[in-house]
Amino acid sequence: MEMTASDLWVLAQAAVISLLMALAAIAFGTLLAVALTPLAFAPWALGRAIYRLYIFVVRGTPVLLLALLVFYALASFWGRISPYAAGIVVLTLYLAALIAEVFRGGVLAIPRPLWDCAKSLGLPRLSILRRVVSPLVARYALPPYLNVCVMAVKASSVLSIISVWELTLASREIIERTLDVYRVLAVAALLYFIMCFAIDRLGRNLESRLAARGFAGERL
């Protein structure tokens, strides 16, 4: 049996779910990372230790395992829990670790003399963070950040394990019904590709706009 036009429509809908899950997790993950990164530079050892522990645990665990762990943990805590909510939590925790490291790299990339300059102007810490550090980190971190965003779309496929109905799960359902393995998988792959490509284009657009605003000299 071949897949039908309505199967195609189903896959397209599932792709939208994948994308929404990924986007929500990117948004929350970025917020969590914004809170985490300063911990990496905290003056107290405890803050730095918490940061390292978080990165170590979350980054060192396969997403699949993390998904099962969080899903069952949340379920035992609250009883029944929506797999979609659990899915967003899982991806958020995972992405936050990756993004926090991306941001940390951005902070480390700021040349020491620029810190000196900001200090010598007598700027309060908050102003240094807001006017100097954040805009520079945004520029340095953008390429690896986009990398994480693209990964997020693909990582969302793991959520099929906790019965989030997204592109991968939908594909499997259709394959089981039609046995049209290769065509279904090809369509799914194409949909993933389109989503990733769109993020990539969006990101490059942003990059060149920042470059036009005077970062790192001429446009490449």
Binding site: P111, P113, L114, D116, C117, A118, K119, S120, L121, G122, L123, P124, R125, S127, R131, V132, P135, L136, R139, R213, G214, F215, A216, G217, E218
Partner: protein
């Protein structure tokens, strides 16, 4: 106006500054010279507390800067807020310009007054425009650093340091990174500033420029001021043996 007493500073067990004493009067211009590694840049950075120092005291108009005595007879860094306020009374210009790459010339100069001194946006901008035109960049207000020559960037950096209306300007080899034909434009700006009575401490290898603008020249060797005096004395009749050797070598 600035009183530096017994500044000592070690890096990784090596003592770079071994008790520096130096007084700088209001409007006085002092040039620091010496071999590379003699501690002149470190001293400049200590004055502005970009480096902490192990011992000694720096006063500006009688106010002890950067550290406070604590009850145990030791000392303690001033809170960040005080450090920021104290730093605003000095401007520093670095060898490598160090403009913020994501800001235009105007934004670079506005930053300090706007967010350090909490001036209103239009007042900060007015001051910045004035300063930039004084350093000859009235037509480059909206250029980003990457689109400016080294000499232009350094002039923006000078305007940025002046924007806080500092009492002292610290200049760290500000022409060393420039192409020879760009040195003059930066020196001209500094020369013009000497007419305004702002005190300056400059680290430099440009002896003829130091001779021209400095009231006194201090020769640093082994973390101490080995000789200090008016340019004619220090450069033409050096008493210190190391200084004679140093001057012979750079000529």
């Amino acid at each position: 106006m600035i009183e530096i007493r017994g500044i000592r500073k070690s890096f990784a067990g090596v003592e770079i500054l071994r008790g520096i004493d130096l007084s700088i009067g209001a409007g006085e211009i002092v040039a620091l010279i010496g071999r590379s590694g003699c501690g002149k840049t470190t001293l400049l950075r200590c004055i502005n507390f970009l480096e902490d120092y192990d011992a000694g005291e720096i006063k500006l108009d009688g106010e002890v800067l950067w550290y406070r005595a604590d009850s145990t007879g030791g000392r303690r860094r001033c809170p960040e807020k005080d450090l920021a306020r104290q730093r605003q009374r000095m401007g520093i210009v670095f060898q490598q310009f160090n403009l913020f790459p994501h800001m235009t010339a105007l934004e670079n100069v506005c930053l300090g007054p706007r967010f350090g001194q909490k001036l209103a946006a239009d007042a900060a901008e007015l001051r910045a425009r004035e300063l930039l035109s004084r350093v000859g960049l009235a037509d480059r207000l909206n250029s980003y650093p990457a689109h400016l020559s080294g000499g232009q960037q350094q002039r923006v950096a000078i305007a940025r340091a002046l924007a806080m209306k500092p009492q002292v300007l610290l200049l760290d080899e500000i022409t060393s990174a420039l192409d020879p034909e760009l040195v003059a434009e930066v020196e001209d700006v500094i020369r013009a500033l000497t007419q305004e009575g702002i005190a300056m401490v400059l680290v430099t290898h440009a002896m003829s420029f130091a001779r021209e603008i400095a009231h006194r020249i201090a020769y640093l060797a082994d973390g101490q001021i080995a000789e200090i005096g008016p340019p004619q004395e220090v450069l033409d009749r050096p008493r210190d043996k190391g200084l004679r050797e140093f001057l012979r070598r750079i000529r």
